[in-house]
Symmetry: D2
Subunit: 134 residues, 4 copies
């Protein structure tokens, strides 16, 4: 899982929003993000784009765990439903692989509050396996 | 369009990523964002989450332009396809209303490079009209 | 659950494709469909539109189970990923409510083969509560 | 465009719902479907699954027009927003390619009434290029 951590470390945008990689196992990756002023929208909730960003990264890295060692991952598309206004102090996106193909890996992500009890958003995403140089 | 500008001004996350409201007319809103280190992913492209964030905001505000004066907008869901690696120096998301209902407003957004010639991503989004207090 | 069965009975399109309501409990509805010549696409697999149709109906009826008695349901949008070519003799779409709001109900559906072991497609859907006359 | 017509002719499901290929040019394909009892849902509108089915086929064939001669197309995923109850006597789905890659082709489709004036539904879809035998 070192390549996931190394790659995550190079995601400047994840640092910008204060996101961190909290767990990583084959087919499943979690990324957390604390509530901070800089990621809010106009009503004081965490911006839907932030939920989407950590969910997309969690899906992408979950996909990468099942790709060949020399491969890299790019997001083809994702869809996210926002289920509740996000007032949690800390949110966690857990991306899971639901189908690993040779070229495409289909994932889903749950975005929850810290204790995992409240589902805030749900994503499905299509990830593409890039061989060699991205 | 003052309420759009006022609301956008309260979106701390838009400031965090360096996004600005560039145009606003009934049913159509554009938001731009310059390329900066803090919004990149691991390959040096603008993070898909950033494209999604400005496209979501552009759709949300496009929807708000067609809602009653006392209403506010929240994102129900969106789906985005990333069409090319985003290397542009400046990107623009233009959200347009494709169907305005009483409760739901359906929008789409094109994310392009600055001159509008290269389509980088395409979103469709469902926005919800909130009456009174959000 | 009588109103679900009664409503399903009025869905002529479900009869056209040979779909039947196989189970119905609060928040969860399953619809099955046998493989028949008339629902195939050009390669001899069940058409993606058929998977989408039974998944959409399963989500819609799952949503209806949590709506008020006098309400009806319409589909706002859905997104489906096809995970494998569909060669099963019988497919089952199980729709589940993941968030029930006053106006919107968000659902997901798994489309599997008959024994539920192979996931063929995955949908997320947004359903709208219509009060009074549709 | 012969291979499109030939392939469409082998789509039994399109016959089942009464759909026909009405136009076909590079990057753009239209499929129409008359209103008939057998494609309706419980309120007497055309079933959302039917709109999705012809839109998916229109996107798939639009994608196929830009793929190599020996390639075939499969649907990876699609997302559709239903914009109005569908009461039209005849509906037309026009699929257009918005980005043609080597492996993936991204399309969108408008579903309208016969004169193209009323937008009934909007789809975006991801299509996969299959080389050799499907």
């Amino acid at each position: 899982m070192d390549r996931i951590r190394e790659s995550f470390g190079r995601q400047a945008f994840m640092r910008t929003i204060g996101a961190e990689l909290v767990s990583c196992e084959p087919g499943k990756v979690s990324i957390a993000c604390g509530r901070s002023e800089g990621i809010l929208q106009q009503h004081g909730y965490v911006h839907a784009g932030v939920l989407a960003s950590i969910a997309d990264s969690a899906c992408g890295y979950a996909a990468l765990t099942v790709m060949p060692e020399d491969a890299d991952v790019v997001s083809v598309e994702f869809k996210i439903n926002m289920l509740r206004p996000c007032t949690a102090e800390r949110i966690i996106a857990t991306g899971s692989v639901i189908k690993a193909g040779r070229t495409l890996v289909i994932c889903e992500a749950d975005v929850t509050d810290e204790d995992g009890q409240t589902l805030l958003a749900k994503m499905t995403a299509t990830m593409f396996t890039v061989r060699g140089q991205v």
